[in-house]
Point group: C2
Chain length 334, copies 2
């Protein structure tokens, strides 16, 4: 189900910009889709957009209010209910990537029925999927993988999509997480799929296409993550990538939230993901490394990327600082 | 939720003994739990047990009728409904490992409500699980892994449990699939768990225990399976095995149902599963290989196991022919 745009971005009363990750992602990657922001009582992170009420946003063409903020636990606080009901009454759909479903809240569910508007709980797949087949299909696929969660896999896939489109290449971002789905307007939250069907869901998400068409599949987790590696492996096998990009955050020493688990070296991460991907696509190659160097000084970051590139013999970029053109060059050569 | 025994084994009208796998597994591994068999119209595979009606079985102490047969698709044919309702009316619970839930059938659901009996849909976990933690816990764990599905992982784990108990060792089979759950009376069907929580479910299933207590965890799938490897990896990481046993069916040339995917060599299978398991238990070792040699002549099978043992330097057994004592010897040495 496509989520109808354009969007009104709801940031609630959450002042921390870190928690407004989804809203910031949308404002950055789909500015043309973002009509305005909506805050509760004037609090909430400022995204640099106009503040509009649901009714005013609807009058300017907004069709969906997106819950763009997450708190720890992923629930929907009572303080937001009035705003959500107000959005439905203003004629907007409401979309959320939170763990709590909008449909679990009686007041919200009733308002949606009364107004005939749709609720989009993007974290929870509505359809079921068959098991993976492992059968090859036409078209080209790139998957971003990484040393951990939250190391830039979504950002890198979107940056590559944009660079390819700017060159006139056929490219499509394929979302596998909540923020990605809201940015793309569609996709599958693979970590919420029953484990037997993860590779089947990944096949469904990146179907047969033109021989020169690239799917840029958003990766999830890491084969080195003690909780989520199984999700990663199903996604690797089902998306059958022709190309991998390894993502990493400089200076991250251990898996986020798991201090006993050191992050693997980039080389080890690359080798293990390529080894796994060969099962369903023996021709897979690593075409680049994407590092978030925001924790480093400018000079140190440049030096780090240069050394890494010498060592690994693939383009090593920071998508924010150097862009991803070097990786797209490599893809054009494939 | 424990499934109350003893059981009446329902084999329906399915003459093929291959499809009565669950009933045969129960009759073989838990004969003391199996009061009788129940067939529809005198058809259905013969397990060598007495034929009793639900009412007669209840009078002899049976507490649950187990659907012991599966058809292709895993649904419940209309022809079985009367028998299932009859069992509930006779005072029995009903347990099923099929894909279709008993609770989806209106007549069955109504009869359960009316009689106050319980329906056990063991393929569908009732509880939710947290994500895995990767934290070590006391107690010892063995996980059976394999080159493919249906290569003896459940059988091998049960055979090792029995051999260990016969030696007076502390050992407990931990079921991860439908048949295993019905044999053990409890467990988690990990392939039906949401992918984010598979390793957490495996941790829950094999909790902290005495330092000399072994959990024998039933493996699922294979890291070389194009559809189900993600399930396998989550189970490997969550069960944190100290010991692995690699299972294989002699002469199987490709993954069952996936002719494009050759079965890996036993050595490659061993190495890849040990490599994966090291993430959450760096001390893991492979303690044996378990081969189903039923497709080979007796002499050829013996020779094959001997050669394999020379090559791999771990005990190589066929649990049906040689038993698993050599593997248990190795466990006692650990």
């Amino acid at each position: 189900v496509k989520i109808p745009g354009p969007y009104l971005l709801f940031v609630g009363d959450e002042a921390s910009s870190a928690h407004a990750k989804t809203a910031r992602g949308l404002a950055h990657w789909r500015p043309e889709l973002c009509v305005a922001q909506c805050r509760v009582d004037g609090r909430g992170a400022d995204l640099g957009l106009r503040d509009l009420s649901p009714r005013a946003a609807a009058a300017e063409g907004a069709r969906t209010m997106v819950i763009g903020v997450a708190n720890v636990g992923g629930f929907i606080p009572d303080a937001w209910t009035d705003s959500i009901v107000g959005a439905l009454e203003a004629g907007l759909d409401v979309a959320s990537g939170l763990h709590t479903r909008l449909t679990e809240l009686a007041a919200v569910r009733d308002a949606a029925t009364r107004t005939g508007r749709n609720l989009h709980d993007v974290r929870h797949p509505r359809q079921s999927f068959p098991p993976g087949t492992g059968e090859p299909r036409p078209g080209l696929r790139l998957l971003t993988v990484g040393t951990d969660c939250s190391v830039g896999k979504m950002y890198t896939a979107l940056a590559i999509e944009r660079a390819m489109k700017n060159r006139g290449m056929k490219a499509e971002f394929r979302a596998t997480g909540q923020t990605g789905i809201l940015i793309a307007g569609e996709g599958v939250s693979v970590d919420a799929v029953v484990s037997d069907f993860v590779s089947g869901a990944a096949e469904w998400l990146s179907p047969a296409n033109d021989d020169d068409h690239w799917d840029l599949v958003e990766g999830q987790g890491s084969l080195f993550h003690p909780a989520y590696a199984g999700v990663t492996l199903g996604l690797v096998h089902g998306s059958q990538p022709d190309a991998l990009v390894v993502c990493h955050q400089a200076k991250r020493r251990h898996i986020q939230g798991f201090p006993r688990f050191p992050t693997p070296s980039i080389r080890e991460c690359m080798e293990r993901h390529v080894e796994a991907a060969r099962l369903t696509n023996p021709e897979v190659v690593c075409v680049g490394v994407s590092i978030d160097t925001s924790s480093m000084e400018e000079d140190a970051a440049t030096e780090f990327l240069d050394e890494l590139e010498d060592m690994l013999d693939v383009p090593c970029v920071d998508p924010l600082k150097t862009g991803v053109q070097a990786i797209v060059d490599r893809l054009e050569d494939l």
